[in-house]
Amino acid sequence: MKRIIAALALFLAACGPKGSGATEIRVADAWARATAPDKKATAAYFTIANSGGAHDALVAVASSIGPAEVHSTSMDGGIMRMRKLDRLAVPKGATVKLEPGGTHVMLTGLVEPVKVGGNVDLTLRFEKSGERKVAAAVRDSSGGQM
């Protein structure tokens, strides 16, 4: 009996809120760019808001359609350089925006075209907050700003 109660207590503790230092991560405005014909790579973007009391970081992204990596884009004397980011910091109180020409999720090895009107399911793994799932709406090459 004691053992059952202990197990139950553990279970409840695992389910409950994480205490004062907990992060509060919200992912919004997710979208992915439609692929050009025959292209096997594109990018996805979203906004991460951390309204909790602790720093967090995005450490992995998985997509429903192929390998995904977080990449930074930097301009160095007019030269564009794209690099893999192993960890994207999301400090407490900060909003981190992934957007065209900047940090983005690169989707590669695509077998099927990514078409306007569809969705790309993304699973984001955070260092402290665990996983968040978002559906990135597919927009045309301009990001729907035409």
Binding site: A34, K39, E69, G78, M82, S142
Partner: protein, 196 residues
Amino acid sequence: MRRIRLLIWILVALALVGMGLLLLNRRPMPEPAITITGTSFGGPFTLVGADGQQFASTRLAGKPYAIFFGFTHCPDVCPTTLARLARLRKELGRGDDAFNIVFVSVDPEQDGPKEVGSYSTAFGSPVIGLTGSPAQIDRVKKQYGIFSEKVPQGDSYTVDHSAAVLLFDRDGAFQSTISADEQDAPAMDKLRQLTA
């Protein structure tokens, strides 16, 4: 009195030497992405079009053009830049004939005529996609002052490259550039001037 004056002069001399040293030791400026060398900047060139045929730069004569170098596996900056050019050309309100948008691959190993051709159709507006042999691409990169370099990434690679759009007038003379981080308003001014 004379001694004080001498002291002041010594201080001035020391300050000048110090400033000179500071200037000498300043960190070197980053290499400019685009090196403009007199009147030879830009064409003429011969590359390969989406149809697999030779494409001579004389086909661009008579109309201004905006030329951008990239690669079709580029997921972010390249489509963003080309889509923006297409959008600005629409906003200019003088149709697709106002100026040509030219895309040249700096990754000829992966981008054949078919690849640049299909890529160029993705922007809802005509884009001239060009590639060529590695030697042809190298020559054109030099002519346009473009830097590019393959960088291994996992089991594939990415390409670092100059990201500015170069604007040439209807006589093929270089006019200005639009950088990737430039706002729409100044970019639009340049396009208006280009097509005036």
